[in-house]
Symmetry: C2
DNA sequence: TCAACAGATTAGAACAATTCTAAAATGAAT
DNA sequence: ATTCATTTTAGAATTGTTCTAATCTGTTGA
């Protein structure tokens, strides 16, 4: 067995464990998608992941990609980043951080959470609690 | 002439002046929509403004509502607030401020700009400049 | 005042992103 | 192996938005 193959196998087992831990049945498709998401932090859309899966020879329906992304998000494996109407990203980095967003290219760039500080947020309206604070720094080429 | 009618007329003239000043031809529809947007600060969607116009007896096509909202935004009369895929708001308050967003109700609540402070934003990627910093404080009922 | 034309509006088609549906397939537990 | 709940799937449906080509309206200048 070659090294790369062995590594792949170990990653797969890992993935299956993580799915189980998240309370998700480790199906073929979920494991494949989790594998594609990989360990490096990335910003993906449903469409782009669907294309990637197809390219990797894992035929998954677009509906399943959407289902899976939402389940992963609920399970805390992903974070959804709202940018603009009709443009939704999923971020494999669920830790504390924010984003630059380039209006022209549509690209996201991370801002480490320890860099940015938001201060002076008033108490939330009665009967509600703060869930998360999202900062999007919109940038333009010049 | 009744008081309310006089007030209405004055507002209309005002509106027309503001449109001209923004370099927009003061058409029936633009004046009507600008009038509906009124002077109090509000958060609206294209759909909601379209419904309002219909209810007020001003038949405007949805396409015109979209066109007008975008033109007003470009002219600096409105600010667009991106909340989530498939949910875009226009804010009649173009001054410095941010928002609470209630995940459950979809409502926006203003946070005065003088309250909130964002610090420690790193220099933007090479070749780009910061256009705007958007803060969305996501809240949930409890 | 009105003719002419650029610019604006319109209904409806087209489009993009996402969700729904009902049927077929699969994983887990006997 | 059989069963059953869960998952996947293709394709239809929905939603929000933009496009298109025809029609209409402000504005300008004769």
């Amino acid at each position: 067995m070659r090294k790369s193959s062995k590594r792949k196998t170990m990653r797969l087992l890992d993935t299956i464990e993580r799915l189980r831990a998240a309370g998700l049945r480790p199906t073929r498709q979920r494991a494949a998608l989790a594998g594609l998401l990989g360990s490096e932090h990335r910003h993906i859309s449903a469409e782009s992941l669907h294309r990637e899966a197809a390219k990797a020879g894992v035929p998954v329906s677009l509906a399943t990609v959407y289902n899976t992304l939402h389940q992963f998000t609920e399970a805390g494996l992903l974070r959804e980043v709202a940018i603009s109407a009709g443009r939704s990203y999923f971020d494999t980095n669920t830790g504390d951080h924010q984003h630059f967003y380039c209006e022209e290219s549509g690209e996201l760039v991370d801002i480490p959470g320890n860099a940015i500080v938001v201060d002076g947020i008033p108490g939330p309206p009665k009967g509600t609690a703060i869930d998360r604070v999202d900062v999007v720094v919109r940038i333009r080429r010049n």
